[in-house]
Symmetry: C2
Subunit: 195 residues, 2 copies
Amino acid sequence: MARPPQKRRLETRARLLAEAARLVDAQGYAGLRVEDVVEAAGVAKGTLFSHFSDKDGLLAVLIGAEVMRLIDEMENAAPPADLPQLMERLVPLLDFVASDRVIFDLLLRYSGSTGAERDEIVTQGFYRQIDLWAGWIVSMQAAGTVRGDHPPALLAEGIQAFLNQVIAIRFCQGGQPTGTPAEALYPFLAAWLIT
Amino acid sequence: MARPPQKRRLETRARLLAEAARLVDAQGYAGLRVEDVVEAAGVAKGTLFSHFSDKDGLLAVLIGAEVMRLIDEMENAAPPADLPQLMERLVPLLDFVASDRVIFDLLLRYSGSTGAERDEIVTQGFYRQIDLWAGWIVSMQAAGTVRGDHPPALLAEGIQAFLNQVIAIRFCQGGQPTGTPAEALYPFLAAWLIT
DNA sequence: CTGCAAAAGTGACCTTGGTCAATTTAAATA
DNA sequence: TATTTAAATTGACCAAGGTCACTTTTGCAG
């Protein structure tokens, strides 16, 4: 019989997440050290790894929460009527993922992972995203602003693909990126969604 | 004045690469340990890191060489006349990248990186690939088997995007993947390249 | 209240990638 | 050939993530 977690455990987990978030806020994802997190939370190192599978597992919860927030935002906004409006809706998510290499790498690694019991928050976000976009596409297809000759799910996954492509290229280009991620994304989506 | 590398250095580098390749062949990329490579090559650990920026740098050379070989193959084959033939040409590369998570992660991390002096073999491969595909697209556009309403370079980058998408999803799905990577790729390319 | 079993937490220890001052080896020069 | 200078290599050492046998705490049953 699996008992529910005790109050102390929930508090410890919350403290770990809160301190990790604080440290990330102060010094970015790349500079986050497990040692610092456990010290700030006042627990031993082993405790962190009993709460999260590994360092990435901790980051996945932090980043996944932010992604969920952004998807909520998208869901609450009015569905886009055409491509320019679609772009507007995507910008916050695009900017977040493009803001830090660590975020991008982690999302790519976890997206869609069969997280069975694990921190499946990233996986959930991934599917919510696709579903949401597919819904948007249905209505835009009905309005005739998006091509209707392919299933919405396929088109939605394509959006995901181009989003990743644009950000990957951005990170790889090293130096100062030219223009916003959104500007780079637009021509791809135009070619993908409009016949 | 930068002098050319001495013979001994070239031999050491070759030995490191050869032993690394052998170990990868025996136990896969994921299980490769720096300690094992230097022991097999009969050098100290520091030597490896004077030849390669880090472990990824070593892997990049190994993987980059293989990618170059695959691109050579593509270049030597006849240019595809239509989508099914394009798919055929892509299969070897697709299978290679899909064969190991480490390969995919590394290529994604390095692709297009401004490798200044560094192991730019992966970067070169990346651009060769896009150029080659763009060339194919030009002729297919001329033949009317591929949409002509967008620049070949954009369409070529899109192929890259879908290739990555398909493989990412494949890895993320964990368990036994359904069908070949090529089967997953086809609908995306059909929608992308044909109006 | 007491004893006990499971949950939670601990910290010494391990692994592995990566560094760098010191040493050895090769080649250029006198 | 002896000397010198730079290239090449060394291996002790460090950093940081991750493990696990053991201790402490908690909640429940008697």
